[in-house]
Symmetry: C2
Subunit: 491 residues, 2 copies
């Protein structure tokens, strides 16, 4: 940081302390280091300031002060994101919304709750459960991640196969624009007139502003949940079973797959006692009315057997169900037991391409001399390959990075996407041009520049190269034709 | 039209004839009159030219020529819209996409179809049915309305309660931007990185460009469909039954309500033989796996009786089911049998407010001295009040218009919306400030101006007052902070 910018930050800090009080503005270097990264620890940047607004008005005042000072700002919820979306800016303010954690309204009869952005995902479900409802999107981090972060990243989860992503469960937000204005997008109704700016905002990763209030859908708790674990010789067989289940018209709440290496890691970490010798396991969960679930569960069991399952276990109670999930949910961390370092990749392919793509991932592993474990949401083709490497071994990190990138190319080749639920953040910005043409990216920049022409709101995220908004190949400029004296004059 | 603009249009027509051939450019005044309105016939404007592109490239060339000439353009599919979204511009080009009607790809195993914008809604279902799939959004006009028009208006339908609107069933589009560039938004995957511009485009009513290719979700045909018709003394009782059904965790494919006046009209027109003396009827349809539907159907029947249904009929076969729906689907047109003129209103309220709002609509009718029939999607609170009047009677039209507007105010008062599925178009642009603050509307204008700074793409629709894009209260202008020498210089 330059001396002049230090002065500028000092001036801004003083202004923010008058807004928030001294104890909610951090400028001490040691304290600031706590916030140097989010869930993607490979990127670390110490912010210039960290602030903790308690209300929408305070959040707007902070952004207004940043805008007036020309200082960039980054919003952070619980800091669990996996793409570095909440990575701080070295010369900027980190706005932590974690203390905005009130549930403002519960209206189960209207299937709605209104919450502040710092409310923890699982707290919404806990608050709604007594009335018989829950909040459906369930990232693995749901015990700690915030609704505001979920909105920024359009978070998914195992049960998004049946229930959809965050964007399908948010009907309205109040946001602070990059200028510091409070604006409402959407509302309580399922759909609003005018542009669906709510949809554009959800998943915009903090680049269009900061959510200060979120209206979410509540979903009725299912009458029954049934879960089975099926073991197969190969991922091909497990992939074929997945396609057969969906093709039969069954939409399970979740279909999760783990391959042999992922099973090995989970066993080493949590002793989940999955069937010995499995080349792949599927966890299939059905929920809904009991009569429906029972009939479909029989069909799912048969389809697994028809496609080569050599062992099927059916959870007898919640405890056994929890055991099935324990292996799956611990898998990412468990990989640390069998490899010193690893990259968590996140991509999407059409479900029918699963067998092909898993074979090709095996080839990529062989070509690059790395091991790749696969743990993923099979039902919606959302892959999470874990690329294992040893950072201490010469060249391995580079080969792992190359293999990880090759997997994204593979996803694109099969008509999929470079991220299913972790977001672009700082991590995948460079991959955006693999998926989008320059025209596609320029079209997105039109919106970014409309909301945030100086790029103060979470700069350096999502888009591959920061550029002056004036550089975006423009739409024609000129007067509105209705304002012209006549059409001919425009010629 | 001025003499100079006539010359300009002549020059443009000549250019378009070189692109499309002479027979696909209409400039004859009599022929042009065919296109003077869409489904909302109270607004009529004869366009300067009508053109029929056959491909995306031709459509792009037409828009590019319009942009170069500064001439506004309006897209039109089948012309069935009910908010005047496809009303032509007197000095502009009407681009009819009805001849772009190829189904480009059917991929039922991936639950996707790729179609041109002129493809008729029901044709997608017809093409997918042999494979066991269908296209879920079902506007009443589905036998004639186009997918492109559905995308523009984010069309709904009776079964959107369970299945969602058009925006929930489109995963990708190719569009012509207002500059004439071809750009892709979204794709085949359920979600794409970057801004959800696809979501913003769907429902943008032609103001952000023209869809030239649409990738839609296909949904598995349900195993079973069961339909009942329940008669109640009052709309209060029918509303309470609706809330009880949803509150029990049942999500029917459709819950439709008609009040006494709507029943009277339907009887007069199609002799649907609904139960005599009913103050309201509900049509409740369940679909899905047989075991599920049977169990839930029993629950629905019981909940209707518990809430005062004095007669319940269960459709024994498809013929009887069709009879139940005949009264409902003919209701709008049927109102013509009991009133010389009528306004079809479209608004949304929270479902739990139904009894209150229907009572207030009754009061509005009394206050304004008009009759109001109610036919609507009760399950999602999407009202369609029909305000009856006689244009020949002094002052009745004005009173009907006032009553119709008062109903929209009522929807907003209860936290709902001024349109559920018909769109804003030219008809409701003036009502937008009742629902949105000036800041909200300015935020939408940021996007409009980013895509279409000269307002050439469907001008005069959606937004209440055309304004120069330079007049939109701006976000701060300036250089990107990353490009600055240091933060301090910005102070």
């Amino acid at each position: 940081m330059t001396a002049t910018s230090t002065t500028a930050i000092g001036t801004l800090a003083a202004r923010l302390r008058t807004v928030l009080g001294t104890d909610r503005v951090i400028s001490d270097r040691q304290e600031l280091r706590t916030y140097e990264c989010d869930g993607l620890a490979q990127y670390r940047v110490v912010p210039a300031l960290v602030v903790f607004p308690h209300t929408a008005a305070e959040c707007a005042a902070v952004v207004k002060a940043c805008a007036a000072a020309g200082v960039p700002f980054v919003a952070r919820g619980s800091g669990t994101g996996l793409s570095g979306g909440a990575l701080p800016h070295a010369d900027g303010v980190l706005i932590v919304t974690a203390q905005m954690r009130r549930i403002l309204e519960l209206a189960p009869a209207d299937e709605r709750a209104v919450v502040e952005p710092g409310v923890i995902n699982l707290q919404v479900t806990r608050a709604a459960t007594p009335a018989g409802y829950y909040y459906a999107p369930d990232p693995s981090s749901q015990q700690i991640c915030s609704i505001g972060g979920n909105v920024a990243e359009n978070s998914g989860g195992a049960h998004c196969l049946k229930y959809g992503f965050t964007t399908n469960h948010v009907t309205g937000v109040e946001i602070v624009t990059p200028d510091g204005d409070l604006v409402r997008l959407g509302g309580r109704a399922p759909d609003a007139p005018g542009y669906d700016l709510l949809g554009a905002f959800v998943g915009s990763e903090g680049t269009l502003g900061i959510a200060t209030e979120v209206t979410v859908r509540l979903v009725r708790l299912p009458e029954t949940v049934r879960t089975l674990l099926a073991a197969f010789d190969t991922t091909d067989a497990a992939g074929a079973a997945t396609s057969a289940i969906i093709g039969a018209g069954v939409v399970p709440a979740a279909i999760e797959m783990m391959d042999a290496l992922a099973i090995e890691a989970a066993e080493a970490a949590v002793h989940c006692d999955y069937p010995a010798g499995a080349g792949a396991v599927l966890i299939v969960e059905l929920d809904g009315p009991a009569a429906d679930v029972e009939a479909q569960f029989v069909a799912v069991e048969r389809l697994c057997r028809d496609n080569g399952a050599f062992e099927i276990r059916i959870a007898a109670d919640d405890a056994e169900r929890a055991l099935f999930w324990k292996g799956r949910k611990s898998a990412f961390a468990a990989v640390g037991r069998i490899s010193p370092d690893y990259i968590v990749q996140d991509g999407v392919i059409p479900r029918t391409a699963l067998p092909d793509v898993l074979r090709r991932i095996g080839e990529i592993a062989a070509e690059h001399g790395v091991r790749i474990a696969n743990v993923f949401h099979a039902g919606d083709g959302n892959l999470h390959p874990l690329v294992l490497f040893d950072d201490a071994a010469d060249g391995q990190a580079a080969r792992a990075e190359a293999a990880s990138g090759a997997i994204l190319d593979l996803c694109i080749e099969y008509g999929g996407s470079i991220t299913g639920e972790h977001g672009v953040g700082v991590d995948k910005a460079k991959h955006m041009p693999r998926m989008f043409t320059a025209d596609d990216l320029d079209t997105m920049q039109l919106v970014r520049c409309a909301f945030d022409p100086r790029g103060l709101s979470n700069p350096g995220k999502v888009f591959p190269t920061p550029r002056l908004c004036g550089e975006v190949p423009g739409r024609h400029k000129g007067a509105h034709p209705l304002q012209e004296a006549g059409v001919a004059e425009v010629f």
